[in-house]
């Protein structure tokens, strides 16, 4: 059964198909999505997050809002790696995206 990490990885792969500078996924769940070492600019980041948001809604039935002031202000960015993002989505899902 497909999990949150699988959906994130698929969306990164889709992003990489059209991006000039690709996100390196060689490190598996520790692969860096956003921040130091990532090729994403702010627009690329927002676009990818929206794709992931829609994909987890469609494929896993998890309706959440990923990018908001609450997420952006966290001391440890939930967007740093595939693993941290998957954990954040799981947490939001349990909270019912309050």
């Amino acid at each position: 059964m497909k999990g949150i990490q699988d959906v994130i990885t698929e969306q990164i792969q889709s992003y990489n198909e059209v991006a000039d500078e690709k996100i390196d996924t060689a490190n598996g769940e520790e692969s860096v999505i956003y921040g130091k070492g990532s090729p994403l600019d702010s627009v690329g980041f927002v676009s990818l997050m929206l794709d992931i948001e829609q994909a987890v809604a469609d494929e896993l039935n998890i309706d959440i809002t990923l990018v908001d002031a609450r997420a952006m202000s966290q001391k440890h960015s939930p967007f740093r790696t595939i693993k941290s993002l998957a954990e954040y989505i799981g947490k939001l899902s349990e909270q019912g995206d309050e």
């Binding site: 676009s47 929206l50 469609d58």
Partner: protein, 236 residues
């Protein structure tokens, strides 16, 4: 899919109803919403029309509309933020709850639908958003402080979102109608309307067709270089 997918808010009556029927007559697929049931499309009178019962400031309900559009059509070509609420009273006679209601519908609703629409439109790198302002903004009409302020905010939103959404290929413009004979101005005294019309270059009531004409211009494929603009009717 060659038909345009057009989302129009506030389609129960007035300009929203006219807009929905107009674009349906053009062969477009129209998704509409309002807070209560509509009469004009009962029993599936219009095959290409789908209606949602929604308060436009309700984030969860709004997201359900966009989720439906994404799953059913996979794209959204145009959003027309028509839903609006008026308050034609002296500020001293305006309860704070009225101000909240007016801002929720006119400003919060407009922002919410713009934000969700661009999430869909960015995939096609193409989209048109048309918001509704009013001549009450440039004319600074007394007795319409709350309504004018809520629509002035719509102008600001339109101009800023035009910049933020440009890189997604989405234009954001606004139309500013003059008084049109709809329920929105039903309670406004005739002499007050007359004084307002006298401040227009062309002194007559507007019609839904006047509004449709401006929106058609914004929606044209050739208008992809027109964004952040507000067109006021009547020469205001």
């Amino acid at each position: 899919m060659s038909e345009r997918i057009i989302l129009i808010t506030g389609t129960r009556k007035g300009i929203g109803e006219a807009l929905a029927k107009y674009y349906l007559s053009k062969g477009d697929i129209v998704i509409g919403c309002s807070r209560s049931e509509i009469e004009w499309s009962k029993n599936g009178a219009f095959e290409n029309y789908r209606h949602f019962l929604t308060d436009v400031s309700d984030e969860k309900a709004a997201k359900e509309i966009f989720s439906f559009i994404r799953k059913k059509y996979g794209k959204l070509d145009a959003l027309i933020n028509n839903a609006g609420r008026a308050s034609m009273n002296h500020s001293l006679l305006t309860p704070i709850d009225t101000m909240r209601d007016v801002f929720n519908t006119n400003t919060v609703g407009t922002f919410l639908f713009c934000r969700e629409a661009v999430k869909l439109m960015r995939k096609e790198k193409n989209g048109r958003i048309v918001n509704f302002s009013t001549v009450a903004v440039p004319l600074k009409l007394d007795g319409e402080a709350v309504y004018a302020a809520s629509k002035a905010a719509v102008v600001s939103l339109t101009q800023v979102l035009a910049k933020e959404f440009a890189e997604f290929g989405v234009t954001v413009n606004a139309v500013g109608p003059v008084p049109i004979k709809t329920d929105l101005i039903r309670g406004v005294p005739e002499d007050k309307i007359k004084r307002l019309l006298d401040r227009q270059a062309i002194r007559r009531y507007g019609t839904p067709e006047d509004v449709i004409n401006v929106i058609d211009f914004f929606l044209k494929p050739e208008s992809d270089f027109i964004t952040g603009q507000v067109i006021y009717l009547g020469g205001v």
